[in-house]
Amino acid sequence: MRERPDDDTDLLERLRAGEPRAFEDLVRSYQHRVFGVALRMLQNPAEAEDIAQEVFLRVHGAIGAFRGDAKLSTWLYGIASNLCLNRLSSASHRRMRHDEDALRRAPSDVPDATAAMERGEVEAALHQAIAELPEDRRIVVVLRDLEGLSYEEIAQALDLELGTVRSRLHRGRMDLKSKMERFFA
């Protein structure tokens, strides 16, 4: 889980004041986190970069309209999450994912349990397990367990009820446990 910056108040003020370096500082501060969310959701580095770039461009264009009700980071995560979910729901992406799933299933039919106990293999399996989660659960798991957002921040970013966040997170984690079951035998 990532360490999160304590306060973006100063950065937000500079952005609102139109300071030329402020936007660059914002991108430098959040590039890995925004890209990380996109990569976990889309499983494709090129697409993830595309989405991450789009996130920052939207922030650049809409910083004046940001009211500050949520934290700057929450706003960024919210934009990134929505863009990813939109991309995943597009017809072209569904088709592409179907092909990738078919490729992915082939080697997992012959698991090597001994080798998989290696840490790298476990992490690869965990990556795979996260990728196979339903999208609505996956985004909550990513924001909570990989990015370290609180339940309230996740609810704000995704515009969900707190109970919905709690429920989806629990289901997602239980799915992960089931998918990783073979490593605990």
């Binding site: 660059e24 590039q31 650049h60 965990l126 709690r166």
Partner: protein, 328 residues
């Protein structure tokens, strides 16, 4: 608390979201249930693994690319992008449109005689312009020619739109009465234009000769541009090297008689004699006959002796130039 109820609380328990009471009841259940305890351990392990995963890093140069993309684009660049991007789609479309427009333009030109005629006229005018100065007046020819007053420019082939091409070989004065004089083209005819280009080298020489020959006439007469002289048009004026439309042999018993009869026939059919020059044992006579009278003229000439056509253009112009080689 049932096992199902206990397992539903795992996530909240892990994130310290449970009340103290609920947490105590869950702990009590786990203490007494081996299966749930094992499930809890596995749940905790998986979440711990997920939270310990290596964070992803944005690719190198990402910041620069974002900053570049966020920079305002100048309007010319925006315009070009709008016009050509995506290249894969717009470029072929634009190329196809260009080809289509070009093809249509060519097709329209080819199918429109008016446009072709205009283009020809422009080309001929451009080529003929430098040669349009008045040609010197040549001495009168003894052959029956229209003797209407003419300006030097009008001495070129008369009314028919297409000027008859002159004889094929460069002309030198065939007789003392017929000095070859250069002539400005009177009509816009591509063949004339070609001819003008071809005999550029000869023209200066001919002009000089003609000027010297015409000097006395010009001295006696008022300027030709001011008032047309009644001088008959010189027949040998069109001594230019261009292949005639028809070349033919005429074998006669008496050349002098034949030449006289030929001159009469030319005059009767509305034609004119352009040049006459010796050729070995015979004589070559260049005449121009209106196309409408061509067949009748040939029939008439055939009566003078043995007529044999040597060469004839596939398509005869309005004024047919004939090079007739007369031998005995």
């Amino acid at each position: 608390m049932t096992c199902h109820e206990a397992r539903e609380l795992f996530s909240d328990r892990l994130d310290d979201q449970l009340s103290a009471d609920a947490a105590a009841r869950l702990d009590a259940h786990l203490a007494g249930c081996d299966d749930c305890r094992l499930e809890w351990a596995r749940f905790e392990r998986v979440v711990s693994l997920a939270q310990g995963m290596e964070p992803s890093r944005a690719p190198a140069g990402f910041v620069d690319r974002v900053l570049e993309a966020a920079r305002p684009v100048p309007w010319p660049v925006r315009l070009v992008r709008q016009a050509f991007t995506p290249l894969r789609i717009k470029l072929p479309l634009e190329a196809a449109a260009l080809l289509l427009v070009g093809g249509l333009a060519v097709m329209m030109f080819q199918r429109s005689p008016e446009m072709q005629r205009m283009a020809r006229q422009e080309t001929s005018e451009q080529l003929a312009a430098p040669r349009s100065e008045p040609a010197p007046v040549a001495p009168p020819a003894p052959t029956p020619e229209p003797s209407t007053p003419q300006s030097p420019i009008a001495q070129a082939p008369p009314p028919p739109a297409a000027a008859p091409p002159p004889p094929a070989t460069p002309q030198t004065p065939a007789t003392p009465q017929r000095p070859a004089a250069p002539q400005a083209p009177a009509t816009a005819e591509p063949r004339v234009a070609q001819e003008l280009r071809r005999d550029t080298a000869d023209s200066a020489r001919r002009e000089n000769a003609a000027k010297s020959a015409a000097a006395p006439a010009r001295a006696a007469a008022p300027p030709v541009a001011a008032a047309p002289t009644p001088t008959p048009a010189p027949l040998a004026a069109r001594a230019r090297p261009l292949a005639p439309d028809v070349s033919a042999w005429l074998t006669v018993a008496d050349r002098t008689t034949a030449l006289t009869a030929l001159a009469e026939a030319v005059a009767r059919f509305g034609g004119r004699e352009n040049a006459r020059r010796p050729d070995g044992r015979g004589e070559i006579v260049d005449v121009v006959i209106p196309r409408d009278a061509y067949d009748a003229f040939i029939r008439e000439v055939s009566r003078l002796g043995g007529f044999a056509s040597e060469r004839q253009s596939a398509e005869l112009p309005a004024s047919v130039s004939i090079s007739l080689r007369i031998t005995e």
